[in-house]
């Protein structure tokens, strides 16, 4: 078996160790903002939207009977 030992320090770059890509940070913040909006829009207690209301309305439009 190989006796080579890992130098844990060498597994990560030094020059960019604490760097976060800007676009990625923007993506993250943007997704969180969208998440807040979506949670507001699709939670009955906030927006009044409900799944049941949605289906009942679309069934009313159905002209099959």
């Amino acid at each position: 078996m190989s006796i080579e030992e890992d130098n844990v320090e060498s597994l990560t770059r030094k020059d960019t160790e604490h760097k976060l890509p800007l676009l990625w940070v923007v993506l993250f913040v943007g997704l969180i903002a969208w998440g807040v909006y979506y949670f507001y829009a699709y939670t009955p207690a906030f927006s009044g939207w409900t799944q049941d209301k949605e289906i009942e309305e679309s069934l009313d439009k159905l002209n099959l009977n």
């Binding site: 160790e17 949605e54 289906i55 679309s58 069934l59 009977n65």
Partner: protein, 317 residues
């Protein structure tokens, strides 16, 4: 790298931190709902399974039916038109485990109860290709063997459902096919009259009835959708009598139309969601034509009124 005294060099704080982080979402979305009333409502009509139904459900689980058949009609128009009223939270009270499934290789079964006859269910389980030549459903002929009444009783006891010795005997005297059929016939029955889309028997639109042309597509539709039970010439099969016997002469076309559209409980499935009204009217004409052909070919008695009951029952609804 990070400093030597950071959390990444101390295993116990690190594992505790991980556990806490994992538990936040767990508590809020999994554990907390366990205590909420909106997670276990019950309809007044929702009752415990009977022994034969529960043993049927055991077989449904054992055979992995859930791998191909969903049991959840989504609150979406297309789902409701095809399968019936969408699944209500209150119907799920006794579902252990839930059997909604995740893939519809076969159709949804949440509203299957009462759509077909017991005989049809059993024959279809034994030989699905008999009714749908191109289906990919396997044959379950091997279920034609005595059901396990001991297992049924143990299951009822474990769940604390009420039962009598008579209920257990019923399982003992049935085959697995019959037991499974009892379960399939119980599905969706908590909401009576759960077929959402229906033709009103009183004001069916009779204006299309005098059509005289039957398109070739309708004849293909007949072979695909009707011939499995009625025979390619309407001559009847093990599950349905010949047209010449069940269609009276003369007959009010509207009666037949209502039967085709809404179906006849425990006898014939509905077709209103899945074909145009015009197609159904043409099928009515075609069925009449086939019945008359048979009658003129044979000199035996023509219309028998005794079989009118099947048609009548749908009109009374």
């Amino acid at each position: 790298m990070s400093k030597d005294n950071s959390i990444y060099s101390k295993i116990i704080p690190l594992v505790i931190a991980m556990t806490v982080v994992v538990l936040v979402g767990t508590v809020i979305t999994m554990a907390m709902p366990l205590l909420r009333d909106d997670m276990h409502p019950k309809l007044a009509s929702t009752k415990e399974y009977t022994a034969i139904e529960l043993e049927g459900r055991n077989i449904y689980q054992r055979e992995g039916c859930v791998n191909c058949h969903s049991q959840m009609v989504r609150p979406l128009t297309a789902d409701v038109v095809r399968y019936g009223d969408y699944t209500k939270a209150g119907e799920e009270f006794y579902e252990r485990p839930f059997l909604w499934g995740s893939k519809r290789t076969g159709p949804d079964l949440a509203r299957n109860g009462g759509r077909y006859s017991d005989e049809w269910q059993i024959m279809h389980l034994k030989e699905p290709t008999k009714f749908y030549p191109k289906t990919n459903m396997p044959s379950y002929a091997f279920l034609d063997r005595p059901a396990n009444a001991v297992a049924a009783e143990k299951s009822m006891k474990a769940l604390g459902y009420p039962y009598t010795q008579e209920d257990i005997d019923k399982v003992a005297n049935s085959t697995e096919l019959e037991v499974l059929t009892a379960y399939l016939q119980s599905l969706g029955s908590d909401i009576p009259d759960n077929m959402y889309v229906k033709v009103n028997p009183d004001d069916y639109d009779n204006t299309m009835a005098p059509m005289s042309t039957i398109s070739p597509e309708t004849k293909i539709a007949f072979v695909d959708n009707c011939a499995g039970c009625h025979g390619t010439e309407g001559e009847g099969t093990d599950v349905a009598a010949p047209f010449s016997d069940v269609i009276p002469d003369p007959v009010i076309d509207g009666y037949l139309f209502v039967s085709v559209a809404n179906g006849i409980p425990y006898t014939m499935p509905s077709h209103i969601g899945i074909m145009t009204k015009r197609r159904m009217w043409e099928l009515v004409l075609y069925a009449k034509e086939l019945a008359n052909k048979k009658r003129t070919a044979t000199t035996t008695t023509t219309a028998t009124n005794s079989d009118m009951s099947a048609v009548d029952s749908s009109v009374n609804k």
